[in-house]
């Protein structure tokens, strides 16, 4: 267990000594800022014509999921693929660390980084709160951020697992993004009356977010879904590392 923390801490710090970490932080905050700004201007333009309701936190939290889908592959791609390419995995795998501790440690390091990222985005709801009368309804903000944390945990775990499959970071990035996009679009594949519609809808990680957390509902089924995906990703990552050992 101690090993998990040691690995996580190092991985977390590494985001701040490499350009990838700063780039993701910067782009995430910058693009989110552009989108929020745009939405605000639209909202004000409308409010000139009619007494439209003031903008709420949706204009911030809505795009955050999309941005995570594109950011997380960049954060996870190097976690194991980089170590395999550089050959540094050999010393990690001969250190007294269990394979699952290695995987969980890597995941936790990335998760801590996303925590920092999400914490920084709080400037947008705070700013909005000051801009509008009578201020922001914080309920959906809280449930929205909780949902984003759960989504991040799940996507990071999948990203770690995919990173374990590759030696090449670019390949890891591409496949991770492809898997995310697939899981995101999967419910749109389900035509009405399709027998697998329910399953496909359940698999869609966007659904659980937009239908519940985003609307201010803390949904137990959604929590179970995200935690299951997290556990699944970490398990797959561990199995891949183990099978790497067997193959030599």
């Amino acid at each position: 267990m101690r090993a998990i923390w040691i690995i996580a801490r190092r991985e977390f710090r590494r985001y701040f000594t490499s350009p990838v970490g700063y780039l993701v932080l910067f782009l995430y905050l910058f693009i989110l800022g552009l989108i929020v700004n745009n939405s605000l201007q639209q909202a004000y333009a409308f409010s000139l014509f009619q007494g439209a309701p003031p903008p709420n936190s949706d204009i911030i939290i809505g795009p955050m999921l999309t941005l995570l889908v594109f950011s997380i592959p960049a954060l996870t791609m190097r976690l194991l693929a980089g170590e395999q390419a550089a050959g540094t995995l050999e010393l990690l795998l001969t250190a007294p660390v269990r394979d699952w501790e290695l995987i969980v440690g890597k995941w936790l390091g990335a998760f801590l980084f996303v925590l920092v990222l999400l914490a920084l985005t709080l400037i947008y709801p705070l700013a909005l709160h000051l801009l509008i009368e009578p201020g922001l309804d914080w309920g959906p903000v809280i449930s929205g951020y909780l949902g984003l944390l759960l989504v991040s945990a799940a996507l990071l775990a999948l990203g770690v697992a995919i990173s374990a499959m590759f030696r090449n970071q670019v390949a890891a990035f591409a496949v991770t993004l492809a898997v995310f996009l697939f899981l995101w679009m999967v419910s749109s594949l389900a035509g009405a009356g399709n027998p697998s519609e329910g399953v496909l809808r359940y698999l869609d990680f966007g659904n659980h977010f937009y239908n519940a957390f985003f609307r201010g509902v803390i949904d137990l089924q959604g929590i179970v879904y995200y935690l299951s995906v997290t556990a699944f990703g970490l398990l797959v990552g561990t199995v891949i590392i183990e099978s790497r050992r067997w193959r030599g």
């Binding site: 040691i6 050999e90 010393l91 001969t94 007294p96 030599g248």
Partner: protein, 327 residues
């Protein structure tokens, strides 16, 4: 300390090591000597708990490398071949990270000691990416001895170093070997002879011989090769049948038009060489040069393989004291 029994590893269909059985004692420096692809790295990776064998067992300090992998890994220090390090970390941070993973007590003090030992104190704050090959190798060694492991496994510890650094690293290994059991791999014969209490010779995944360097040297000195430069119209090849008939000559090989290599039997009489010279002259050739060809590692393997073929499997089961103990 290290015990291997019928250790076998297949990479897919390829057999990399084939029923290796050996044992090392506490405080011994054992050399693993073999050409490229012999299976040295494969064996070491199994012993360090990096990967499981396909068949067979190995124990480090009586812990099984698969069943008690974590216990094994706690007790082993490992310097991989072509050590890979985190270039974006400083030497100190890297050692701190590895030390924490291994739960080294009094870590700061221990890192300082180890840096002293590998002569890197002044580079503690340097990024690893900025170090020379030799320095990186020493960082690797520092990492391997940091937790004072009972067993040190060093895969080609002096490869890629300049002669001065090689001497330095050997000195360091010798020092370490006084307290730890060391297994090191090399394909440099002299290095094994220089450093090791015992040498395991491995080729194509099988142990060909297991000896003290002294015994080994004695045995190899038996096999002698003489190189001749001759002149004559018929070319050097014409001498081949003549020289082959001389007593004490095992084999004659014409290298090119002017050069011959003659392999002498280990028990060839001292008079064999003058007889060779005489035979060359008698055949109407001129003799320009005659010298002892040094045995390369390949020659040694050839010889050992031939010995093995001649005397059946396990040629040295009775020949060496170490092999006796295991039998």
């Amino acid at each position: 300390m290290i015990r291997a029994r019928d250790l076998t590893k297949y990479y897919g269909p390829r057999l990399a090591i084939d029923h290796l059985t050996f044992e090392t004692r506490k405080g011994e420096i054992v050399g693993f000597l073999g050409p490229n692809g012999a299976g040295k790295t494969t064996t070491m990776r199994i012993l360090t708990g990096y990967m499981p064998p396909s068949e067979g067992d190995a124990w480090i300090a009586d812990y099984h490398v698969v069943d008690d992998s974590l216990e094994v890994r706690r007790r082993v220090g490992y310097l991989p071949e072509n050590i890979a390090l985190y270039d974006d970390m400083t030497v100190w941070d890297y050692l701190a990270f590895m030390g924490q993973l291994r739960g080294v007590p009094n870590l700061e003090q221990r890192i300082a000691e180890v840096l002293e030992r590998v002569n890197l104190v002044d580079r503690a704050e340097s990024f690893i990416g900025s170090l020379s090959r030799g320095m990186r190798q020493r960082v690797g060694l520092a990492q391997a001895i940091l937790h004072q492991p009972q067993v040190l496994i060093l895969d080609e510890p002096t490869i890629g170093l300049d002669p001065a650094q090689r001497v330095e690293v050997r000195e360091l290994i010798r020092e370490i070997g006084q307290e730890h059991t060391v297994m090191l791999s090399t394909h440099i014969l002299s290095e094994a002879q220089d450093l090791c209490d015992r040498v395991l010779i491995i080729n194509q995944g099988r142990i060909l011989a297991e000896d003290t360097p002294e015994e080994l040297e004695l045995r190899l000195r038996g096999a002698q090769r003489v190189r001749l430069q001759v002149g004559g119209e018929a070319g050097a090849a014409g001498l081949q049948p003549i020289l082959s008939r001389l007593p004490g000559v095992l084999r004659v090989e014409a290298v090119d038009d002017q050069h011959l290599e003659v392999e002498l039997a280990p028990d060839a009489a001292p008079s064999t060489r003058p007889a060779l010279a005489q035979a060359v002259l008698d055949a109407g050739y001129t003799l320009h040069e005659m010298c002892t060809a040094s045995l390369s590692l390949e020659d040694i393997f050839l010889q050992l393989i031939r010995e093995e073929a001649a005397s059946g499997p396990a040629p040295d089961a009775a020949a060496t004291p170490t092999a006796n103990e295991e039998a």
